[in-house]
């Protein structure tokens, strides 16, 4: 790791061409953590994860240990892994699934033991054809190796793992939609409460849903102890995180960094990381955690990469994806494209999201393409306010899930930060960027 002396936790094998094979995995300590976990009690394994204070790496950042402990009153029936990574500009789970599937599976098996489930499902985004092949191959190898199935490693513990392919729908990353999808239905998020599938999950049974990166951290946590993990980072943000950096930087890529101890400036400008803005341009704005997150201007680059640090500044670290936009970027076009995405992916259950996203997209389209009116700016904000009243962060909810209230983030940010640019589009009858 470039900037702090924190170890690589989830990307330690990615330098190897054959990082996805069982051979490489075993040669680099693979499945030792699972063997160790099986010598411990399930409660002790869960306690290590609690001690690590591992925040879920899916986007909401809910403590994984607490997600598990909510289940303690009930025997857990299912573990479901969310590998439906679809948040625009997020590509870290893709990497972990394709390049280190055994690490993911070992994490799943450790969690299965801690939760004492008999069956776990790994839901992999359908568009990850190679990822599906890699994780299926890894699972076949793991069964043959005795790490999955009946009486794993002679421990008396048994669990089956099923790899389940998605079929293309952003909304299935929402955990209750993912469960519906796994039940063979449309990916419609479920009405809350209950807020957590721990109460009523897959087939109505107590279920834990965890993200791919969250699971991929478990082998290291069990091997090195929760305290060692918690010693990295600061505050509530412990350990490392795999950040996906894209947009106008010289070196886009996925970088594992110690949380809080590194900043957006490090990520974007350090020569070993983003390497600065391409073509010697200036930074105009960046999105700190997926397109659902409010944007930041250059004045925020010194914020640490920590969940609360970014949250307190009015946005979120979300899915860990950072999109950099340089001075050549048309902010109307960027906002329009992000909104078009939400309009396409709204599942259609709730009116504010379904109708709002469509109208917002059309108004943004006409501003970008020469049909905009000055009052459109207020209209956009008014529609946004109907989806997320008050335009606060975190947003107020009018819908079943957070997709709808995420739509205003980019629109509100762009109009607040670049109002003049919107007005220029209106006055000049279209995009000055051509």
């Amino acid at each position: 790791m470039a900037l702090t002396d924190a170890p690589r936790i989830v990307t330690s094998r990615l330098g190897y061409e054959d990082s996805h094979t069982l051979e490489r995995y075993l040669a680099t300590g693979g499945y030792q953590a699972l063997r160790k976990a099986l010598q411990m009690t399930p409660e002790a394994v869960a306690a290590e994860v609690d001690a690590a204070s591992l925040l879920g790496r899916g986007g909401a950042g809910f403590p994984a240990g607490r997600k598990w402990s909510m289940l303690r009153p009930d025997p857990v029936t299912y573990l479901v892994i969310n590998g439906d990574e679809s948040e625009p500009a997020t590509f870290k789970d893709h990497l972990l699934i394709e390049r280190d599937p055994h690490q993911l599976l070992e994490g799943v098996l450790i969690a299965s033991y801690a939760l004492q489930v008999a069956q776990a499902f790994v839901y992999v985004r359908g568009e990850f054809a190679l990822g599906l092949e890699r994780v299926t191959q890894a699972l076949n190898e793991a069964y043959d190796y005795g790490a999955v199935g009946a009486d794993i490693f002679g421990s008396g513990f048994s669990v089956d793992v099923v790899v389940h392919p998605g079929a293309g729908a952003y909304i299935c990353g929402e955990e209750t939609a993912l469960i519906e999808s796994l039940e063979g239905k449309r990916g419609f998020p479920r009405i809350k409460p209950p807020y957590f599938p721990a109460a009523i999950g897959l087939y109505g049974q107590p279920t834990v849903v965890n993200n791919v990166e969250t699971m991929s951290n478990l082998p290291w946590i069990i091997a090195n102890g929760g305290a060692a993990f918690a010693a990295l980072g600061a505050g509530r943000s412990t350990g490392t995180r795999l950040f996906a950096l894209s947009g106008h930087v010289r070196r886009p890529g996925a970088y594992e960094l110690e949380m809080v101890k590194t900043t957006f400036r490090d990520l974007i400008y350090d020569p070993s990381l983003g390497g600065g803005i391409r073509d010697g341009n200036e930074l105009k704005a960046f999105i700190p955690g997926g397109v659902s997150a409010p944007w930041f201007g250059p004045d925020r680059v010194d914020l640490p990469l920590g969940q609360d640090e970014v949250g307190d500044a009015g946005s979120m670290l979300g899915s860990g994806s950072v999109v950099v936009m340089d001075s050549t970027t048309c902010m109307v076009r960027a906002t329009w494209r992000i909104t078009k995405f939400f309009a396409r992916e709204s599942c259609g259950q709730c009116t504010p999201c379904r109708e709002g996203s469509g109208w917002l997209e059309r108004v943004l389209y006409r501003i970008e393409h020469g049909g905009g009116r000055e009052e459109d700016l207020d209209l956009l904000l008014d529609v946004c306010d109907n989806i997320a009243p008050g335009l606060t962060w975190p947003p107020a909810m009018t819908t079943i899930c957070v997709l709808g209230p995420s739509i205003p983030s980019s629109i509100h940010s762009a109009i607040e930060m670049f109002r003049d640019e919107f007005l220029t589009h209106v006055k000049e009858g279209g995009c000055p960027h051509g």
């Binding site: 009930d74 029936t77 500009a89 789970d93 190679l130 599906l132 089956d160 063979g184 494209r337």
Partner: protein, 208 residues
């Protein structure tokens, strides 16, 4: 007479057996049917309905929700050009414009020879190599307008047949064998969970 080939029918039954409830196999079997036909024929949907215990309308209603499941025919190669934010910043809109002009079809259209269907995709999670293009859900790297034309020529010339199977084949690696843990254990856990929940609800009811 089964619409799915005997081999695929056997694989479909194996898929059903992996899940506690048959309907969970609906989407995976839809992928299988597309492996055979390239898209979801009505006959296939009827058979899937039977396999998982729902009506054909429920299969269509579910399948039509998902971008990757096609209830109408598509080309041998579905070319997906991502234009979402990271790719947009990397020239994806210009690439898509070029693709439309070069192929002579709009987004969603299929070339007359049935070889290529062009799609405008949402983020495909390969954002450090924009603009991202997939063919039949396999990454073909960042593409420029020039390389795109070469890619299409290679597809049409069958030169990528080894790496990109015809549309519908998702994963070429198959699961070895079925479940190994006794179903009785899952059933027992479910019963225990239901009992615990009932106990808690009863306790909450008394406290009111």
């Amino acid at each position: 007479m089964s619409h799915l080939s005997p081999e695929l029918l056997e694989r479909a039954r194996e898929l059903v057996a992996l899940y506690p409830e048959p309907r969970s196999a609906l989407v995976p079997i839809c992928h299988l049917a597309q492996e055979q036909d390239g898209w979801l024929r009505p006959e296939a949907m009827a058979e899937i309905a039977e396999l998982v215990g729902v009506t054909p309308a429920e299969v269509r209603g579910t399948a039509s929700f998902y971008d990757m499941l096609h209830t109408e025919p598509v080309g041998t190669y579905v070319v997906s050009v991502c234009t979402n934010i990271a790719c947009l910043l990397g020239g994806a809109a210009e690439l898509l414009e070029h693709a439309e002009a070069s192929l002579g079809v709009g987004v969603g259209g299929t070339t007359e020879d049935g070889a290529i269907t062009l799609e405008e995709a949402e983020c495909l999670a390969d954002c450090d190599r924009p603009p991202c293009v997939q063919v039949n859900h396999r990454y073909v790297g960042p593409q420029s307008p020039e390389s795109f034309d070469r890619l299409v020529a290679d597809l049409r010339g069958g030169r990528l047949a080894g790496t990109v199977p015809a549309h519908g084949t998702l994963a070429r690696v198959r699961r070895n064998g079925g479940l190994r843990v006794e179903r009785a254990r899952v059933t027992a856990e479910r019963a225990a969970a239901a009992e615990a929940r009932a106990r808690r609800q009863a306790a909450a009811g008394e406290g009111r």
